[in-house]
Symmetry: C2
Subunit: 218 residues, 2 copies
Amino acid sequence: MTSATNGTTNGQPDAHHHANGNVDPHDLWPAPGGPIPGADGPSPLGTAGFRMNHTMLRITDPEVSIPFYRDVLGFRRVMTLNNGPCTVYYMAYYYPDEKTGADIFKHMQQRDGLLELVHVHGSKGRKVENGNPPESFGFGHLGISCPDTVAAEERFKAHGVEIFKPLGIEFSTKRGMGVADDDNDDELTEGFRKVFSRMIMIRDPDGYFIEVVPYGAG
Amino acid sequence: MTSATNGTTNGQPDAHHHANGNVDPHDLWPAPGGPIPGADGPSPLGTAGFRMNHTMLRITDPEVSIPFYRDVLGFRRVMTLNNGPCTVYYMAYYYPDEKTGADIFKHMQQRDGLLELVHVHGSKGRKVENGNPPESFGFGHLGISCPDTVAAEERFKAHGVEIFKPLGIEFSTKRGMGVADDDNDDELTEGFRKVFSRMIMIRDPDGYFIEVVPYGAG
């Protein structure tokens, strides 16, 4: 489906480090280094109006999860819908023209950035797979961005949030982030270690990871 | 953390159905029925500028996944970053003021709706937990919205996408959506069955579910 390949057969990119100025922004296999901005042109015609509307996570207890997302992280409730065996809670941050959850609700499908929390009735106490190794390999995290991570970290501490990786600590797969197949982070670039030290990793009441990144992180 | 409760102790809301006109939009336990728009006020002061920036999913083969998200779903590549043991691909749909991935990259943290695909090098062939029962209970799906689901479904067929639940089919937990704790969808409301029949459920190359919803779905 694509001609962009480095020609290796084991899925590993070349270890050769090169400056970003000379890389092909369409390349699927860049060498380790800094971020390479994309250069895709216009969207395919058949995808006009497509939006990255929402991400759905199952929750086991809305009495804990809704206050966490609403009162600690500041999400606003867009709508609530009991479908019988489950209740759906859509939440989002305001766009500039929105003042209430009902404002978002009016055009909720024409918009990015919704979080859909689905409470499966009777699931309280059930084990939730957060998608991270070693238990599982899949979903990684939600990423919340904010202008002031120092203030955000203080806020999380004041609210008793589980801080999995505080500011100032560099990346380590021992901390369970699961980015290396052999659970060994020796190969992580210096650049990424610095970027990651500026992020906070917290966990929600069900154990899902939430990465909190500063504006201008990368 | 909240006083909103229906007073039951087993996490099950009342089965009593009532009209939406009389419900409390702050209630955590509405009865089965239609959507109840939220009524939260301004965001907490300490969360000013927080954005639902991204969702991270691990992928096992960028040669398959990037063309799927880019050429079939129409996501644009925002940036690519090889961190050593993994390569990160940020993708998104354009906002009106953006024309290339580099435009998005400039303000990528101040924005909603990014998809972060992380290729863990050497993970090709590894089993991916998509978060859905019965294998696991966690992440559910990405939700993509679009103005014309009929055209979208034709597009998916033309590209050989796995269509897990086509248009016109009502919800069934037998199809593995995992919204009922007892794997029984008998209690699903008529309203939700109708809404769901208007959605398409597809799967990405790693088996993650993607719900494709029309504008004005709910």
